[in-house]
């Protein structure tokens, strides 16, 4: 029983970082309908910028982190403005390839600048300290990630619920021409979502970095985040978080009770099963085109 609880808690812990990536994914998908493969690298570069601020410019950890978040906002907006927007009559696959291209460029830059070695990112709290409930451990860093994921989700949720931007995003995604005809500055909407998305991703990155920092650090969270977003329905913020916890918990329970070897892929099998039952994920209504 203790094991079960521990595994569930750990699942939630790891799920929280997936959740942050998933939230970022969902945001961009909501406005642009692109599965965003540069999500991870949009977080990676700011994380390394923070690292640089700390080590090369002697900034404090807090300044560096804020700097990174601000930079992320800028980076997201910039990528949308300078690249994604420039695509002429893009189709979804074209956009996917563009994000893959961006991914390569950013990853290339980071590895070019910093080499392939592991780095050590200082963090205000130790990643080794943990809180114990009975026999169940949760590391303070995990707890922080969990809180961050939930707070960001709620904040985004409320923001999109009560600001016009939320509907504007949805409208943009569904029919960009019509959205522009409504006077929605679709380009600006998309740019902002890219910015927010990069910032959310960077939060995830900064929380992952103290444990593990190298140029490929964001790949696994990206894939799992993508998976989580899909389970949640790709357009739902709570869905993304929920999906992330499903992925995290399944992984852990499966790893614990069934097989460690297949742990890495179990999430995807679960997804296929979920999707067979609900083709648009758990939190999205399935729209069947009417003729």
């Amino acid at each position: 029983m203790i094991d079960f609880i521990q595994m569930t808690v750990s699942g939630i812990a790891v799920g929280s970082s997936y959740a942050l990536m998933a939230l970022g994914m969902v945001l961009i998908y909501k406005a642009s309908e692109v599965p965003n493969f540069v999500q991870g690298e949009m977080a990676l570069l700011p994380v390394f910028i923070a690292y640089m601020l700390i080590y090369s410019y002697g900034q404090s950890v807090f300044t560096a982190f804020f700097g990174a978040l601000a930079f992320a906002m800028f980076l997201g907006c910039f990528l949308e403005f300078a690249v994604v927007r420039r695509a002429k009559n893009p189709n979804i696959l074209g956009l996917i390839i563009i994000t893959i291209g961006l991914e390569m460029v950013l990853l290339g830059f980071v590895s070019w600048k910093f080499g392939a070695d592991q780095r050590v990112m200082p963090f205000p709290i130790s990643s080794y300290s943990s809180i114990m409930f009975g026999n169940v451990y949760i590391s303070t860093l995990d707890l922080l990630t969990l809180v961050a994921a939930l707070v960001i989700m709620v904040a985004l949720f409320l923001f999109f619920r009560f600001s016009k931007l939320g509907v504007a995003m949805k409208a943009t995604q569904q029919n960009e021409t019509a959205a522009r005809l409504m006077g929605i500055r679709t380009n600006r909407v998309k740019m902002i979502t890219w910015g927010i998305s990069a910032t959310v991703g960077t939060v995830a990155g900064l929380l992952l970095a103290p444990v593990f920092m190298e140029p490929y650090m964001m790949w696994d969270p990206l894939l799992k985040g993508f998976a989580a977003a899909v389970i949640g329905g790709m357009t739902s913020l709570p869905g993304a978080v929920f999906g992330a916890y499903i992925v995290g918990i399944t992984e852990h329970l499966f790893g614990g009770y069934v097989s460690m070897e297949y742990k890495a892929v179990v999430a995807f099998v679960v997804i296929v099963i979920v999707l067979c039952i609900k083709p648009s994920g758990l939190f999205a209504r399935h729209y069947v085109k009417k003729v």
Partner: protein, 258 residues
């Protein structure tokens, strides 16, 4: 009353297709202007050009709205200046509800109270929409979607309203109502540019009309005059001396592939 919209000699290309070949048009403030024309004449293209929906077009010519150049401006900006378009093919937001769709129409407006009033007004025009506020627009019937598209445009309280075949897919009763509505909102001060296939209705309701063929205006005049024109009657209103199709002798010979 001055000229609200002034289109001078615009030319529009779709890539290599020369769709609008120098068209000029001016719309008087407070009037209803109708554009008639065959399939593919370029009516939709003119509206889309004015709205800035075709990238980098018009290729030549100028468009002025209320004295300001708008050719080459962003659609969003044009819309915010007070032009609204009911697009061909409805273009409703399929996965938004009826209410959300209508509210998108009022996206640029800040006067919440007036928006609510306008919403009620739209619901009064189209009661069926009021019954279904929570239904996804994509699952509406064709005619319902058309009503929604019109309602959505009304929600923005435009100065100038473009209607691209508003009666498309509507029942005869609703067609009548639509034209009543058009008249009414015109009386409320909205200038209207109307593209219609239903020439009779369009000419009835409009003050002035133009006929577009192959990307050029070929005829222009007061609606009343046009209605009497022989050619217009024959080609756009289908008025012929014979009675109905049932009694027709088929005159179009079928060609056999060589």
């Amino acid at each position: 009353m001055g000229t609200l919209l002034e289109i001078k000699n615009i030319e529009t290309y779709y890539d290599l297709i020369y769709a609008i070949r120098g068209a000029s048009l001016s719309v008087e403030e407070g009037s209803i202007t109708a554009i008639l024309g065959n399939n593919g004449a370029g009516k939709t293209t003119i509206l889309r050009t004015v709205m800035g929906l075709i990238d980098d077009q018009p290729d030549k010519g100028t468009i002025e709205f209320a004295g300001r150049r708008i050719d080459g401006a962003d659609t969003e900006k044009i819309v915010r200046m007070g032009i609204s378009l009911v697009p061909e093919g409805r273009e409703v937001f399929e996965e938004l509800t009826i209410r959300e769709n209508l509210m998108m129409g009022a996206y640029t407006r800040r006067d919440k109270k007036a928006v609510t009033r306008d919403l009620d007004r739209v619901f009064a025009y189209f009661p069926i929409l009021a019954d279904r506020t929570g239904q996804w627009a994509g699952t509406l019937s064709g005619g319902e979607q058309q009503m929604l598209a019109i309602g959505r445009a009304l929600m923005s309280r435009p100065r100038l309203l473009f209607l691209d075949e508003p009666s498309l897919g509507l029942s005869p009763l609703l067609v009548k109502e639509i034209f009543e509505i058009i008249k009414k909102i015109n009386q409320e001060g909205v200038t209207i540019l109307l593209v219609e296939q239903n020439a009779k209705k369009a000419l009835e309701v409009s003050n002035e009309a133009l006929i577009l063929e192959n990307g050029r205006f070929v005829m222009k005049g007061q609606s009343g005059d046009l209605m009497k024109d022989e050619n217009v009657r024959e080609f756009y209103m289908g008025v012929r001396s014979t009675e109905s199709a049932k009694g027709y002798q088929r005159w179009k010979r079928k060609k056999v592939w060589r």
